[in-house]
């Protein structure tokens, strides 16, 4: 088993998804790289057995969200810098507005909004990934949607 090749393939395959998850939670590109790197470190250390690619992806997302949560709580983080570079990849002003509104939601809500609408996970899957009850997922989804509707009016 070539671990170097395995980890390279995993980074190529999943780093884009993990980047999006982490940028939504952390809103800071410098912390995002640390979070992604730590996620792959755990991947190397734990070496879990996966049923399939979906299982592997969900595991990585779960680890990344836990790492991001711990970073928010416990680490000396980077000063909050603007995400202009991320915004600048979006062509239309209204899309920049949507991104800004998403990132202004409370962390718990925007995480669930992202996992549902962008990654396509259903309530039960999101509950498993985040380690919370299905009812909590539904509440966060509902509140996030309502708040975004209000913010964009």
């Amino acid at each position: 088993m070539d671990r170097g090749k395995d980890i390279r393939e995993a980074v190529i395959k999943y780093s884009d998804t993990l980047y999006k998850v982490c940028i939504v939670i952390l809103c800071n590109e410098q912390d995002v790289q640390d979070a992604i790197q730590d996620t792959f470190c755990r991947y190397l250390e734990k070496r879990p057995q996966f049923h399939d690619a979906e299982h592997e992806k969900a595991w990585l997302i779960r680890v990344a969200t836990n790492i991001c949560r711990d970073m928010i709580r416990f680490r000396i983080r980077h000063p909050k810098v603007s995400i202009d570079e991320v915004e600048n990849t979006l062509a239309a002003p209204e899309q920049k507005e949507i991104l800004r509104e998403l990132l202004e939601l409370p962390m718990k809500q925007r995480t669930v909004i992202y996992l549902h609408y962008v990654e396509g996970y259903q309530v039960k899957e999101i509950a498993d990934i985040l380690g919370i009850k299905e009812g909590a997922v539904k509440v966060r989804l509902m509140r996030g949607r309502r708040q975004m509707r209000e913010l964009l009016v």
Binding site: R8, S15, Q37, C41, R73, F74, I76, L99, V118
Partner: protein
């Protein structure tokens, strides 16, 4: 707003090739057993600036400088101990501390109060217990695992002393890294980039 508009927006956002490549290089170094740790240059500069280190990197907003009381405490730690702490952090495979359980709401509220008290000179009486690895760590008591940067927390709610020991140790690690040779090299690199107007 249709929630699916969020997907359309996020589908246009991607990790940069540079970040991806940096991650691949760092992970391959780890697999090959390399002890060198490639720090994000801007993160090291930010940490150094937070401790008002000699790097002189003040070209971006930083968090409030550490209090003079904390700085004095850090400077009173023997240099050999700081070097050892920096070397330990550099050799760890992770970049974020782990915790054996979540803080309770009460602990979290108290932890934030104690962070402030620490800045004002409230320091722990003792130092945190440490173990080289998980196998050597005593069960059920506060202990820091050096190999994995992991805090074993007691099952019961932590005392103020235990939380202050965590805060103190994290500050010492940050100070050790901010003043270590890798941080100085990173800060010099950042200064060169700033000078080029990047």
């Amino acid at each position: 707003m249709d929630g699916y508009e969020v997907k359309k927006v996020m589908d246009q956002i991607h990790i940069s090739e540079k970040m991806k490549e940096d991650i691949i290089i760092n992970m391959q170094n780890k697999v090959e057993g390399g002890k060198k740790r490639t720090w994000n240059v801007r993160r090291m500069a930010a940490t150094a600036a937070a401790f008002v280190a000699a790097a002189g990197i003040l070209s971006f907003p930083v968090r409030a400088a550490v209090s003079s009381l904390v700085k004095e405490r850090m400077e009173s730690v023997p240099k050999a101990q700081m070097t050892e702490l920096n070397n330990m952090v550099q050799s760890q495979p992770v970049l974020a501390d782990g915790f054996s359980r979540e803080f309770t709401q009460k602990e979290w509220a108290r932890f934030k109060e104690l962070h402030q008290a620490y800045e004002n000179g409230t320091f722990p009486e003792g130092v945190i217990a440490q173990a080289d690895d998980a196998a050597a760590a005593p069960k059920g008591t506060l202990c820091y695992i050096r190999a994995t940067s992991f805090f074993n927390l007691p099952a019961q709610e932590m005392t103020d002393e235990e939380m202050l020991q965590i805060i103190d140790f994290q500050n010492k690690m940050a100070y050790a890294v901010a003043n270590g040779p890798q941080a100085k090299a990173a800060a010099a690199e950042q200064a060169a980039q700033n000078a080029q107007g990047k």
